[in-house]
Symmetry: D2
Subunit: 257 residues, 4 copies
């Protein structure tokens, strides 16, 4: 049976600040990316979120980001590969400790925000991150943008890798995302977005922005749980996938380990 | 053979800021407490310090503290036991990740600064910390002030515990430290300080501030490596201990595991 | 005409995190306390909040707190009076800069959360804070809990002071707040809360928890704007005050400068 | 008489961490740039440094940087012009408060590290910063790299501007600095470095890396005080300037206000 993972960022609250509707989205997804205290979250939030994910049977991922709480890790920072690697190790270990303390496991690592985007285009940075993951635990899955340098780096050093796709983004003929600044970057029709995902899963194909079909092999689709509209979309994509006979499963059931 | 551990705080540099003379003190000690990024240190410093400790064969301990970089974790903070426990788990995991990535192990956990002092007097806080350590790894040694609530909590929940003593501090008849605000709190004569440590190790006794002898069983002596005077003292205490036939060994060789 | 100020904490959002319903509460209040980046807020939020308060004609106050973003400044920290004073100066200046850049003025300073509570009971701390305010600008009003050490310190060094009262809190016979841990600490009946405020304003009296009447002279009532219930209460207290012929005015129209 | 300012970064210590030899360099310089708590420093350090600069009669400048303590503000961050402007206002106000509280004044603003470098090349960013300075106080001098976008932006909006030069850096024919990655970027011979500065001051000329003479009008030379070698160099350049009859004076005596 064709299968796909639905992943969502969780555990982004911080101290007195609440973000996201974690309780409502968690029954709808198969894997979650939990913030690790650098761009968002704190130890109490991490503990609570790991407990919630364990309870829901959702694959638990670390979501390490830049040390930029004020910018929510969304601003590019000119860190060296060594710095990025050390930040990954630190945050990965911190989340791991909550998982281990609750007798559960980490499934994957997905760099967050600007770090994800930068690593996707910078092989040296991607390699440093992939090595940091491998050095800590070579059985962890590294999630990266399909077609990105992150995926290439993970494959090269031989750790399991999950190729992430976006339902609402258009693709260039080379498989990279159309930059948000370009016309047509966003797929605004939700039904079309869902149809594109289904085709990716079933046919490993998507129509690029120039009209040509390109190959894409999706392991996970990124969804959001921070507003009502997003929750509705997750419900719809779930139903559509199930109606097509596509299974929704955590990465550990999809990616070759 | 009588044995004692000499422990020292290491890895307290942060970003562009250097603190301590880690390279010089590390050959003189048997265990180190490595800061974990809350009161001091950062991921690059943690990586470097773990590597240095592994190379030197020194027992590696996590030194988690309050999230108070500006105050170096030295100011009491009214955190709840739940908050303290989560801060311990977070920092412990972060340091663990560097150790695991370098194929080495953590030996112990020693709460830092104000957290250490508060836990020493507050059983609920001490218990929350001890449980956090046990939940993560019940074979880790928790280091606490000899005679403190931290030691009592660790014993009660059944994790290995190291009783720490101070060469330069006077003791109350009940085994607690004479508060710094009291006359006679500090042992300023270094030879006397060393003689007191030797007696603690050999006879399990120390003369309290009221002149009576009290029982004290030391597993580790706290030393410092942040200035020349401190380094000289460590060299002297080492020589004196060795001259008395007392072995200097990491906690893992001293504490019943 | 009898007058009273209604003050509310504003500008507590931070980065990607939203807190409070500032736009909705601002038309209902006469003074606001704007967070200054230590326990909450960031420079963009400060700029926006000052602009909003200026536009609404609301008295602008600095709301400096402890450097504890993770705990929202609500946890006691054992800072020295010198540290507290420097934290006040720093945050006060930061907010002042936004006000000055927009051609408006600061009206008052209200320490936040745990710092407010600690200063209310610790004269040395209160004095250090009051001096920091005076050194920066002796015409700024310091807001403190009615009957507290903060008010005493401000009076002693001769800066304008605003005595804050709480509608929903019971008072001890000595004019201090009944601790939250005691039975009867909270006035849960909103109508009674409003009646008590009206009596404070008109008669300078409130019934203490032991049934005796005590004197209390209120300059400002603390209200909240972070949930629907709180907003409803502010609307109600406004109407009740106006119905009683009590004017609602910013501190600068109430406190002798 | 020809005059030049010697400026140095001061007040970069943080909490328990000491950086720089402020006491020793301060008698040798005429202006200082004081860190404002984002990339370095804290309120106690700011207070102490402002007091020291006032006592020494040195021109006091704010040295606002990126919110990146871990990276000491040296890493480029993709902040928006609005964010940069707000960060400048915040830090400028914070330092101003210490100066005002001690009855002294701010003379100038010099963005720090990566923010300085980025603004030097990005006119939009430079303009946002210059406007933030002007909005707060149009009499403050903005210090920028000679020939940079920062200088251009300050001139365009009509605030006083100080053109900074570097003794130890080579220049491109267009007046920009030779990138550090290029051969010949650094002037390693200290005597040559000093001769170049003297020629800049006296003749408004320097030999660019291609051997041609270019015009450069220096208002201030950047010096360092964080190691013995740097201190020796400041002493030497002072003597050489004085021997040439060049006055050393704070920016406020040099720049047209």
């Amino acid at each position: 049976m064709a299968k796909i993972d639905l992943n969502c960022d969780l555990g982004e609250s911080f101290g007195a600040y609440t973000m996201g509707m974690d309780e409502r989205v968690i029954p709808l997804i198969s894997s979650c990316n939990i913030a690790c205290g650098y761009h968002a979250s704190d130890p109490l939030v991490m503990r609570k979120t790991v407990a919630m994910a364990k309870e829901a049977g959702v694959g638990i991922g670390a979501h390490p980001g830049f040390p930029d709480l004020m910018g929510f890790g969304r601003r590019n920072m000119a860190v060296s590969p060594e710095e990025a690697a050390a930040y990954i190790t630190y945050q990965l270990g911190a989340l791991y400790a909550f998982a281990k303390s609750m007798h559960t496991k980490l499934q994957h690592v997905k760099p967050h925000g600007a770090l994800y985007n930068m690593a996707g285009k910078d092989y040296k940075l991607a390699l440093a991150i992939a090595k940091a993951v491998k050095d800590f635990d070579p059985s962890l899955i590294l999630m990266g943008l399909s077609g990105s340098e992150s995926v290439r780096a993970a494959e090269e050093i031989g750790i399991p890798v999950a190729r992430e796709v976006f339902a609402d983004r258009a693709y260039m003929p080379d498989g990279s995302l159309v930059p948000r600044s370009m016309e047509g970057a966003m797929i605004r029709d939700e039904n079309e977005a869902i149809r594109r995902v289904i085709r990716m899963v079933k046919e490993h194909k998507v129509t690029a922005i120039d009209g040509t079909d390109i190959e894409i092999v999706p392991d996970s689709v990124c969804v959001h749980g921070d507003n009502e509209k997003a929750l509705t979309f997750v419900t719809q994509i779930r139903s559509a996938l199930e109606a097509e006979g596509i299974g929704i499963a955590p990465l550990s059931k999809i990616v070759a380990l």
